[in-house]
Amino acid sequence: MSQLHRLSSGGLIDRAKPLSFKFDGKTYQGFAGDTLASALLANDVQLVARSFKYHRPRGILTAGSEEPNALVELRQGARREPNVRATTAELYDGLIAQSQNRWPSLYFDFGAVNSLLSPFFAAGFYYKTFMWPTAFWEKVYEPLIRRAAGLGKPPVGDDPDTYEKAFAHCDLLVIGAGPAGLAAALAAGRSGARVILADEGPMLGGRLLSDRRIIGNQSGPDWVKATEAELASLPNVRIMPRTTIFGIYDHGVYGALERVNDHVATPPAHEPRQRAYRIYAKRAVLAAGAIERPHVFGNNDRPGVMLGLAMRSYINRYAVVPTKRVAIFTSSDEGYATAHDLIAAGASVQAIIDTRADATISAPNDIPHFKGARILRVLGNKQVQGVEIELKDGAIRILDCDGVAMSNGWNPAVHLTCHLGGRPVWDDKTNAFLPGNVPAGLSVAGAAQGHFGLKETLADGLRLGASIVDELGFKASGITTPDTDPESLAHTPLWRVKTSKGKCFVDFQHDVTDTDIELANREGFRSVEHMKRYTTLGMATDQGKTANISGLAILGEASGRKMAEVGTTIFRPPYTPVALGALAGHHVHKGFRPTRLTPSHQWAEEQGAVFMETGLWLRAQYFPKTKNESWLDAMIREVEITRSKVGVCDVSTLGKINLQGKDVGTFLDRVYTGTFSTLPVGKVRYGLMMREDGFVQDDGTTSRLSDNHWLMTTTTAGAGKVMAHLEFCHQVLWPELDIAFTSVTEQWAQYSIAGPHSRDVLIKLVDPQHGISNEAFPYMACGAITICNGIPARLFRISFSGEMAYEIGVSNRYGDALIRAIMDAGKEFGITPYGLEALSTMRIEKGHVAGSELNGQTTPRDLGLIKIVSQKKDCIGKHMSERPAMLAPDRPILVGLKPKNPKSKLTGGAHFLDKGAKPSLENDLGHMMSVAYSPMLKSWIGLGIVKRGRERIGETIRAVDFVRGTEFEVEICDPVFFDPEGVRIRG
């Protein structure tokens, strides 16, 4: 039999759309418009979860996002989502959900034995029990706790769905589309102001969908429908259902999560599952309503115990009678509304147990009515089977029932008002914490402000909506508050039933009881912040939405303080949990790290190049000749051919900055260690750039193309940082300099042609009017030329490899054509393309520093480059790099390292020790920075820093690598391994 607890008519569900779903493997039926919770209740499924610590059977407490108990795993496999609140999960056809935190089954849970051990699980349990030995924490305690006290399991595999980030702007953001929010949006929308109305639920209306109310001459849901229709007709109003405003940030920025496709099995093609918004709003109205308070009494967590409004919500909105024989436990006149709705739905109200002896409201029909009474405990385990009550005169009675509906007043949903540090203030009149100092630009309306009556809520919304848009320069008009049916709101909260029997839960999700709070108080954790952390009250995924205020009241009672003195902890974003995927949006995988390709990429692919990532760039690592050629063999071949004939390498990824203006020379003198203002037109100079703290940040070459036109190159990785640094130097330090510069990295394709035949290749490409003989275009010359019949190009006679070499740059659209032309021209000379491995090997053979040496911890002196720090002028970092300790002879300095056995494969990161010295900080001599196999020396070689290294050339030390488990004897040598006189470079 299906849906035994479903009413035959009424509700806001669509009976024409039946849906089938599975919970714990069993198939059930529900209707469109159901939540998983309402559909489970329609099928009389009361037991849906096990609690966190004690594994107690739990049911459904609420009908909203504040739900602490009914957490389930939704969907399966890679789409499995743990800790989904069944009360907000919209039902769809084929939905699959599992209960969690139980083994082997929900009905028989082995972990429930924790309940018997509960004396050991009291407040502070973790701190007291798992203190030490420290070594036990990682291996024993933590896995044990995680297995026993976990919430749901994470999904397996990559999330197959996509998420988006989006931005929205408005004059007024209305948070919550209950009566106050709808009224505010209407008043503001009619004025023409740009309004966004967001609500976490799929339907607008909030409480009006749950209660039987009259507005004007319409039912609540009809008034909602009419209001929504008018709002939808206004082009300046945007309605965002299924959208939670989860956080308020500085300067009117609101975080919102739109659940675009959580209500279907899989999102349609090209649609995201969720979308995270940043909403920029000039003003906002918080109309988040209020959350009903549970009572704290014995076994108040049994399935069948429910909040009064939740009970009414299931009856009126979902046409489901959760339980059919209900005891009403109330400290408020609203409990009587629950009784009326239950009776109207054909259920039996077994009794109204009103904690107020002086309640003036009368009970419907001839229902047993106990004033000044209280429930001591719930009977039954997996379902309420009765309650034990204490009457006003002390008499004890057992009452038969299968459900309890609690009404203990309201906690305004002030959460968002705390996000920028606001503290709620206790109000004795409404018995509630009301918004304190709220964020700039935010106003609070309706129940969130403690205005619980429907008429005052509507009036509140209309008034605020209108006054805010007036302040923003719009004109609100035609606003009158409609009449509503009478209501009775009197209440006197009862914070707990002190004479209870059994466990009295305050925080259902974290299994915190009233005695835990008393214990915390006894042990001195009297500040709310201390009590919270000691008991973990309010620290579960629901942030204690139903728990905190009762907890504070009990702490106040235990410590003899009033609520206002106790104060409250504050709430932080997010209001409800937000998936990390939604915050990441499309910034995952390559969307997070896009790939940058050089102009020769396609050509390199055609050559079978193996690529590697350097920053975002994909660069050719080596060009294997055959499938089986290893990187080492390919590198050796590429180096040997380049050094004996000619090779070509794509260097387009180097940062390039175009500088112009009459003061560029002066500027360069100040940012580089060397002097550039004296550089003649048509010449290139190597430059070293320090940070102001004296450490090297980058190096490169700068060319003077004309009097006022210069071109700087930076390392591939340093390009962005150098640009920002130069902008700082210009805009902040020396704005008076007449210069302008811009990055042209992507505009130019650049190739290095190196080797004894490099000029022979080049001559075939360069148009004949440009002389490039050794005399006309010597080492470190540069100039604008044309190639291949008139294509503009720039030529630089610079070398990283130590060979006679040229770098030739063309507009990047000619990059592909140029590499092909170079290869054609070089064919007769046996040209080879070479990749990063060969590039790196050749620079290490030449002792040139690069990324591993320019690691932000080395000074020019450490790199052996003190000679290119001009002593005739100041530059960025000069003074700091010359402090005594920075120049101390003991400070490690760059040297070359050669293994005693040429086959010893050196490793970067190995530390240097003297022979016989124990590995210790005091004995550490420095470390290896770069290594390569040198085809020229037929040996592994390395560059590293060694204490007093330059004085110890020729000595033998040990290179010890504990990570890779190697140790080699190495000889300290000059960092320039190959052609130390630099004969080859000058051709």
């Binding site: 704005p735 003074h879 010359e882």
Partner: protein
């Protein structure tokens, strides 16, 4: 958080990168105690709680270095201007 860029208008803070305290004067490199002055210039900061002047780069925008007046206790931003007086003048 939003930062008003004097060139682009109010923009999301994720477009900017932060450097630190504004208004520091790079010492005279020829001063007799220049090394000590540079030490203070590089390392010593007021670290004020309250209204501060900070350097931000509108990195994913107009690439202006700007001086933002921000209260570190409230995050309130009460002003921003170009760090370079020349740019400020040209913008007017």
């Amino acid at each position: 958080m939003r930062i008003p860029c004097p060139f682009c208008g109010p923009r999301d803070s994720q477009e900017f990168s932060f450097l630190g305290q504004a208004g520091l004067k790079r010492p005279d490199p020829n001063a007799p105690d220049a090394q000590m002055q540079f030490h203070d210039y590089v390392h010593i900061r007021d670290n004020k709680a309250g209204v501060t002047q900070e350097l931000w780069l509108h990195a994913n925008g107009c690439r202006s270095w700007i001086v933002v007046t921000r209260n570190t206790l409230t995050h309130e931003i009460t002003g921003s201007e170009f760090a370079s007086p020349q740019v400020k003048e040209a913008a007017q």
